[in-house]
């Protein structure tokens, strides 16, 4: 390994020149390619989570057709076939729309897509006959009554149109994927958690970095950071078993597990993150700021709240963003403490269902390739994009601001 030292040789320019060594070259290349993997992982995560939700976007996918067969029973497939043949035998009558209703694309359109085409053209052309021509009609004969009530909704546009509805009923003959209900549930929990965690963590950070003596600081910091080591399932369990009962006794509301309990529990998970980052931000404020303020006669509290805190605002903002990211994507606490009912109300003491909890609780029950499965992955991609954006904002915007501020530009 050790290359022999050049003995008795005079050092010429040539001998001092950097030599090409294969092992060096390989080591560097291998190490940097391993480092590259971490970038690749981010892309892979996005690609593979998004890939599974692709059936929601594709029109002529074969996988979709398969799903259709899976979801319809054998008997229904037969009638389905029969109906298509009757349609094919009467192409003149139906004219142009028949093109869009070719048997191959049939299965696909049934599921979700083509909302615009089908909904707008069909009723006009066929009037009352729509029901029979529904791509879904074969399987929908069972659900027919249900559908008539809801106003002859096309099976094709169901998934997408239901995204903006308020009902989350993924497993039924007439599945509805109302993301709005989940979004409101998630926001409710996030807001409650941040209202508790934000002020508490920031005040604690102010105390630690501005008022506490060094000795106290060394005790307080590790203890609060220890809270970060609590597994979220433990916090969720605690919230569910102890907090829920306690708060119900105090406030006397109906549903034991609700958005408030979930929010309190998630605040516990978010506190260490917000605390640590804002403490760092506060400590990073140059000492000269503090000294200047104190020299002007300001008290310690005045210095902390009118000099140090404003100077560290971007960092604290970042801390809050990352706290939101943590709460937004927290699964186990949401699963255990929020009650998991997708209700639409502003009351904080009612059960909610968050995005992450929905994925966590329903993924195991879905079949690979089903619409429900794709929708869950779609929610996953939304969560990923959201946390990615939060992190990017916290990173670039905030850092840029901090640097500008402290360099006095």
């Amino acid at each position: 390994m050790n290359s022999p030292l050049p003995k008795k040789e005079t050092f010429t320019k040539e001998s001092l020149k950097k030599q090409f060594r294969l092992s060096e070259f390989l080591a560097e290349k291998i190490i940097s390619s391993v480092a590259f993997l971490s970038i690749a992982i981010i892309f892979l995560i996005f690609i593979f989570v998004f890939k599974e939700s692709l059936p929601l976007f594709s029109f002529g996918d074969k996988a979709k057709a398969k799903t259709e067969i899976q979801t319809t029973t054998g008997a229904e497939v037969e009638t389905y076939g029969a109906e298509t043949s009757t349609e094919e035998s009467e192409p003149e009558t139906y004219g142009a729309p028949a093109e869009s209703l070719e048997p191959e694309s049939y299965g696909t359109t049934t599921e979700d897509l083509n909302p615009v085409v089908e909904e707008t053209t069909e009723p006009e052309t066929y009037g009352t006959v729509t029901e029979d021509l529904n791509p879904d009609s074969a399987s929908e004969e069972v659900v027919a009554i249900d559908d008539k009530v809801t106003g002859n909704k096309e099976g094709a546009d169901k998934t997408w149109s239901t995204f903006f509805s308020t009902e989350w009923v993924p497993v039924s003959d007439n599945p509805r994927f109302g993301l709005i209900a989940l979004l409101i549930g998630t926001l409710k929990v996030t807001i409650i958690a941040m209202l508790i965690a934000g002020p508490l963590a920031i005040l604690a950070a102010v105390y630690t970095s501005c008022f506490a003596s060094n000795r106290r600081k060394e005790i307080i910091k590790p203890i609060i950071e220890m809270l970060a080591a609590f597994p979220s399932v433990v916090i969720g369990f605690f919230a569910m078993m102890v907090l829920a009962t306690f708060f119900q006794d105090v406030f006397g509301y109906d549903s034991r597990l609700n958005a408030f309990i979930g929010g309190v529990a998630m605040a516990l998970a978010a506190i260490p993150i917000i605390y640590t980052i804002s403490e760092d931000a506060l400590s990073a404020v140059p000492k000269t700021y503090t000294e200047a303020s104190l020299a002007l006669g300001a008290s310690k509290a005045q210095t902390a709240f009118s000099v140090i805190l404003p100077a560290a605002t971007p960092g604290i903002f970042a801390a809050l963003l990352l706290g939101v990211g943590r709460v937004f994507g927290e699964t186990m606490i949401a699963l255990m403490a929020t009650g998991n009912a997708a209700l639409l109300s502003a009351n904080p003491f009612e059960s909610v269902r968050t995005f992450a909890a929905t994925i966590g609780s329903e993924m195991a029950e879905t079949v690979f390739g089903e619409t429900h499965y794709s929708v869950l992955f779609f929610i996953g991609s939304l969560l990923f994009i959201f946390s990615f954006i939060l992190n990017a904002v916290a990173e670039f915007y905030v850092k840029g601001k901090l640097i500008k501020k402290f360099q006095g530009k």
């Binding site: 971490s38 989570v49 990211g325 994507g329």
Partner: protein, 315 residues
Amino acid sequence: MEHTIDIVENPFSKANNTKGKAIKETAVVGITQIAVILIIAILFVILGIIIYQGRDKFSWEFISSFPTDGMTKGGIFPALIGTFILVIVMSIAAVPFGTITAIYLTEYAHEKSKFAAAVRFSIRTLAVVPSIIFGLFGLGFFIQFVGTGMDSAFNGGELHWGQPNILWASLTMALLTLPVIIVSVEEALKTIPRELREASLALGATKWQTIKKVVFPGSISGIMTGTILAVSRGAGEVAPILFTGAAYYLATLPGSLSDQFMNLGYHVYIMSTQSSDVEKTMPIQFATTLVLLILTLSLNLVAVVIRSRIRRKAK
């Protein structure tokens, strides 16, 4: 003229510093102090209640026996072993990867390199991505893509790797804990004095030799801290393994990497939400939570001690 007025109205000036101000000052400091006390109190309340409720059931027998009677009695042995296997396989995957990435970032990357900045950004992103997303990724990538691919390539399409198992769960967890390891190792590498590296290079050692003989030995403690923290994190996380390998109940211990496994955190979750009789198994749930907490907190404590030693050494 104006100047004097300014001074008189200056809120910081001594003339204005009355007794009321002093009270306000103490009040403000007091509020922040209350926030700290409240957080610490909550922490100890959680700890206290879980210890109090779980202490009866917590025994050697509880740890070393299988669950019986439809998981309403007995211990948590398979869940504990499952967790151990999970974190071991996870460490085997994540530690070398994380260490090498950290070495790249501190030793090879130039300060203004765009590539290194991208790597750093990815790592930080990896640290904030919700853990459930890792679970989805494990399902979509490891199981559906790699596993199914392996099955069709080696097993002729027979389902063997294309389903949830320890290996995929561990690899998923490895991705989740990667940032923890990278950050710890990087911190340790930064404490190695520049002079040591320079001395090594001046003696004629190449860069790779320097890293191997000087930098790497100095970072062992950092790698250890990182591994312990990662294990502590991996032992507690449940969301990533929900659909990549954790099982509700298994009568036997996992025999190979393609088996499913039981897990402490998952055990707590299902016992408290999906058990047939939640009330009756309450002591088991608290005791399981206690075991999980002891595991994660003690590992964390060890890591904190090692880390503070590194920091002291650096000073």
